[in-house]
């Protein structure tokens, strides 16, 4: 029983990480109606830039600040070069543009910093929490807990930002209808820059946490693909959905690995989340928390 809880908690904590990844997507989808395939590449780029600067001898906090500056610059550039020319194009076109963007960012990242796997040390050890281990014998990683705490804090801040502030409301207006938002005086450009900067910041935090866990490597770019089923389950435009769905996926992935793994054999996690997401799309396309769309003819 205790082992079950250990796995469950480990899964939930991993799930918070998924939520964090999903959050970056939700941000951009909420504000520009586009699924940003490049988010994974952004995470990779942010982490790589931090580690790159740090390995050049720059103190860690400065490296993070510089990386953040780079992500801000990236946000401006993306708005200017990708989003502005494609305003009001169908969702599909924007999605394909972000695929192109992700390749571009990957190329630049590796060109600038090389393609080797880098280690990232945040100073928090991946060890069991002692008092918990002593009291209950459960193995819960310190790192996981801190990471979840940071992620949860970030999510809370963003949730408040979206729902309670004026800028948040403007963001939601832009997500709904570009033309309409323009006609009430919302500056699309400003909004998009804000959104992509925020997404860049989230990408940086995500990159640092995931990078510390698994090393900063090219595989990070595929986070987009891992996040997709989470987003479909939770609803692409819902912060709450990203949180809940992330937790569900994290927990069930860990549980399935431990309890079902021996029966099914390895590898099904490559496609199972997708088939699950597919099932959801057929039954409840807007996800658990998303908004229903009704189209008038």
């Amino acid at each position: 029983m205790q082992f079950f809880f250990e796995v469950l908690i480990g899964g939930l904590l991993a799930g918070v990480m998924y939520s964090l990844v999903a959050l970056g997507f939700v941000l951009i989808f909420k504000a520009s109606g586009v699924f940003n395939f490049a988010q994974g590449a952004m995470v990779f780029f942010a982490a790589l830039t931090t580690v790159g600067f740090a390995s050049m001898g720059v103190p860690f906090w400065l490296a993070v600040a510089l990386a953040l500056a780079v992500m801000v610059a990236l946000a401006f550039a993306t708005e200017r070069v990708v989003l502005r020319p494609l305003v009001n194009q169908p969702q599909i076109t924007l999605f394909m543009a972000t695929i192109g963007l992700s390749f571009f960012i990957e190329g630049i990242a590796q060109l600038a910093w090389g393609a080797n796997v880098r280690a990232l040390d945040l100073g928090i050890a991946d060890e069991p929490i002692e008092w918990l281990m002593d009291r209950t014998g459960m193995n819960v990683s310190k790192f996981d807990l801190v990471a979840s705490g940071i992620a949860a804090g970030l999510v809370a801040v963003l949730a408040v930002f979206f729902n309670k502030t004026r800028t948040g409301r403007a963001l939601r207006a832009v997500a709904d209808d570009h033309q309409a938002a323009l006609s009430v005086g919302i500056s699309l450009q400003k909004i998009w820059v804000i959104v992509w900067m925020t997404a860049g910041f989230v990408a940086l935090v995500t990159g640092l946490l995931w990078g510390a866990r698994n090393g900063v490597q090219f595989a990070l770019t595929f986070l987009a693909l891992k996040a997709l089923p989470v987003l479909i389950l939770g609803g692409l435009d819902s912060v709450a959905g990203a949180i809940v769905a992330g937790l569900i996926f994290g927990a069930s992935e860990k549980l399935a690995e431990v309890y079902l793994g021996p029966y099914v054999g390895g590898g099904i996690e490559s496609w199972f989340p997708y088939v699950l997401a597919l099932g959801f799309l057929l039954v409840r396309p807007e996800g658990l928390f998303g908004e229903r769309r009704i189209d008038r003819v």
Partner: protein, 368 residues
């Protein structure tokens, strides 16, 4: 003054509906066919030229992959360009074709190789229909998710169920030697001609399809499916037919990929990256255009080669040692940038630029 239509009057609809209504176009195509089918092979067999040009490299490394990718791009173009159903699972359908052809050759003694290819395409078509079923309820970007499920599932299944690869380790298969009508197709020239013939026939069929009722039905579903339904177009049949035919083309391309190009393939060689590559061919070459599939394939096949040669040239002329991986990173950067560029500036891709060029040529030497 070259490209004028003066004097070319069409007196019936049949003349108007020809594939190449303008005489100059017909001449150009005849020349192209003559060069491709006759001149190139003859040149490759001429000892004098063979000493100077490395024909094996050109066949194996450029022309054959170009043709095979054109075929795959054609398949994806039918699905995504004409029918408007975004698919990220192209490589999976190619894999199905490759492994199906291998298994037919392996398990059905004496089966004609061309028939294996056709049957492989049919198997891919069936798989395509199965994974296309969600398109009846989901659309746009969400449909891409369904095709991703296909992509990951197929690669996993081909690796996991060792039967597909005849129980070899990690699913590697070595394609059998090609024998067509009793002739061994074992030299680069012969493989080139075989692939050229197959691709030409299938391209012609595709062109005929897209200018007939079925092609119009696809485009109608792409442009506005509610209106298409109102006009009487059967949405379900149309979408599934797009998946079937597209997957057939990708399946045959996959079979050729294994048999006439690489020789040895494994499921891991048909990953998402390959699907993206073919999607890029369609976007850059031109969605909704048969010619565009060829232009896009040519571009994507030739660009890395061109960059490689340039990098080598720079290294030699200036004595520099360029960082390793420079070319592959530059390729990523250029592809990414071009995708965004074409989507923003010319969504109909190189094919549209070609068309504009032809229109300018019709007026040449006058500006307008």
């Amino acid at each position: 003054m070259l490209y004028r239509e003066t004097g070319q009057f069409k007196t019936d609809y049949a003349a108007d509906q020809q594939l190449f209504p303008i005489r100059q176009d017909r001449i150009a195509i005849a020349v192209l066919i003559a060069v491709a089918f006759v001149a190139v092979p003859i040149a490759a067999l001429t000892p004098g030229l063979r000493a100077v040009i490395d024909f094996n490299y050109w066949f194996n490394g450029v022309l054959i992959p170009f043709l095979i990718f054109s075929l795959a791009a054609l398949g994806l173009n039918i699905l995504t360009g004409y029918a408007g159903l975004l698919s990220l699972g192209t490589a999976a359908f190619m894999a199905v074709g490759a492994f199906a052809a291998y298994n037919f050759e392996l398990r059905v003694p004496g089966i004609p190789m061309l028939l294996s290819f056709v049957l492989a395409g049919c198997v891919a078509a069936v798989v395509g229909i199965v994974f296309g079923l969600p398109s009846l309820r989901i659309r746009g970007f969400y449909l891409a998710v369904a095709t991703l499920a296909a992509q990951f599932f197929v690669v996993w299944a081909l690796t996991k169920f060792a039967w597909f690869s005849n129980y070899s380790t990690s699913g590697v298969i070595t394609a059998q030697k090609i024998v067509v009508f009793g002739l061994a197709v074992d030299t680069p020239v012969k493989r080139y001609l075989l692939v050229l013939a197959i691709v030409s026939v299938m391209a012609l069929a595709a062109k005929n399809l897209v200018r007939s009722a079925v092609g119009r039905a696809w485009m109608a579903v792409r442009d506005m499916d509610v209106a298409a339904e109102v006009v009487g177009i059967p949405i379900m049949k149309t979408k599934l037919l797009a998946f079937a035919i597209s997957s057939f083309y990708c399946g045959v391309a996959g079979a050729l990929y294994a048999f006439a190009y690489l020789g040895t393939v494994e499921p891991a060689g048909f990953e998402l990256e390959l699907s993206f590559r073919i999607l890029f061919m369609v976007i850059i070459g031109g969605a909704g255009s048969i010619l565009g599939s060829f232009l896009g394939a040519a571009f994507i096949v030739l660009l890395p080669i061109f960059l490689d040669l340039s990098a080598n040239g720079v290294e030699h002329s200036f004595g520099l040692a360029l960082p390793s991986g420079l070319v592959s990173n530059l390729t990523l950067i250029i592809f990414g940038a071009l995708i965004v560029f074409f989507l923003a500036v010319e969504p109909l891709g190189l094919a549209r630029l070609w068309q504009i060029g032809k229109e300018k040529l019709r007026l040449w030497p006058f500006p307008h």
